[in-house]
Subunit: 245 residues, 2 copies
Amino acid sequence: MHAQAAPLTLPSLREACSQCNLRELCLPMGLSPAELDQLDQLVHVRRRVLRGQHLYRCGDAFESIYAIKTGFFKTDVLLEDGREQVTGFQMAGEILGLDGISTEKHTCNAIALEDSEVCVIPFAELEDYSREIGALQHHFHKVMSREIVRDHGVMMLLGIMRAEERLAAFLLNLSQRFLARGYSPTEFNLRMTRNEIGSYLGLKLETVSRAFSRFQDEGLIKVHQKHIQILDVDGLKKLLSDRRT
Amino acid sequence: MHAQAAPLTLPSLREACSQCNLRELCLPMGLSPAELDQLDQLVHVRRRVLRGQHLYRCGDAFESIYAIKTGFFKTDVLLEDGREQVTGFQMAGEILGLDGISTEKHTCNAIALEDSEVCVIPFAELEDYSREIGALQHHFHKVMSREIVRDHGVMMLLGIMRAEERLAAFLLNLSQRFLARGYSPTEFNLRMTRNEIGSYLGLKLETVSRAFSRFQDEGLIKVHQKHIQILDVDGLKKLLSDRRT
DNA sequence: CGCCAACTTGATGGCTGTCAAGTCAGGTGG
DNA sequence: CCACCTGACTTGACAGCCATCAAGTTGGCG
């Protein structure tokens, strides 16, 4: 039994999907106004998760998926010996919990990296609605497929890229996702530690730190602790395509 | 324009899902007899793919997913510089093409490693049937989720395991999948080259070869070219849990 | 029989991990 | 308000695992 904030219905703070400014990134994407009203019936519980708390844990029964309303998460898998593989970082508008569908138990941990709020989407009900709303069904399939494609990208990172390429790809990916959410793509604060970045990229924290320093020396970025400023986007992109042979 | 075997309807060879001995591994799993009859309406085209041929290529328009009836495939992504990341090996009963849903274009290549046959499942129709048959919808979601979970496993391989651990995990995974299909879990032929194994595991072919030799020296397996015999399953498993700290 | 791709094995080198020391920033308590 | 403490980060020195390069072997196929 582990401490978790109990799910809370928040009628006063209620913000329907139809009003949500993330709806173009999240599950409601592409739905008609009438369909959006239906979706509002489905998503009626939100849950706060404070920094450091688990949204769910490996082994927990799977009942819902979660749409991030505000905040930032990581998902990870732990080995018996305590080592951690971070499988992803998720931000507002993205969906968490898809891993649990297959076995009806979650197969990874989801941990808030800052105080966050998620929309709880009971999965059985989502399937019910999906059978009625073709657009919702199709969009949900796209969300799952996108996760598979994203995972393939991570495999490429881990399988064939060198340390600096991995970090450049990581920064460019973050940059793009901040841009899509209306934030600056060139200046942002990292929510995760060097250790977590390293775990995601298959590197040790010292290697991450060294690569950051090297990028800074080369004038590609400015880095001060968690604050990142990208000075030369094209330079970073070049790191990905320029491979010495 | 690339050479591909044209999709063929094979009424003479027709084997309905309801009759298929793979149905407990594949999409029809858990359907009632009546629902199986419906599914038979959906899956009415099969396609032969000879060894070395592509089932689909990166960039191809996405229209269908594919259930492997016989044979063996790999999926990969190529970098501009020609380097390859193998993202998976697929065998009978497994589903190919899920990557294409998200962008309506395939994002990887699927290549037969031996002469194979697949059932073509038009995706739009699958979604239609899924809205009618709840069990089909749910099982399809499980299949996609399983792929996500599998990918997380590969990330762990690539992110935190050493060469010999990766290869041990790879062999045990193959062994398990052969067992599930009624083949010997301890003796089988690899369908892929050392180079392809290496690409999947983030290693060079020489490292794969050396690890095989080492396993043989230690009495864990017998290996002769593509023929593998597992002599000590527990020994291989121990390689995964025993991590020097 | 000869060719070629796949594979094995050895020698060497480099990238990244490991170990260690020191700096920095934020939070707490006196 | 400041000293202290702790976790996060940076940087250096060294080592090890795996990549690279190279040579030779095997097996399949025309």
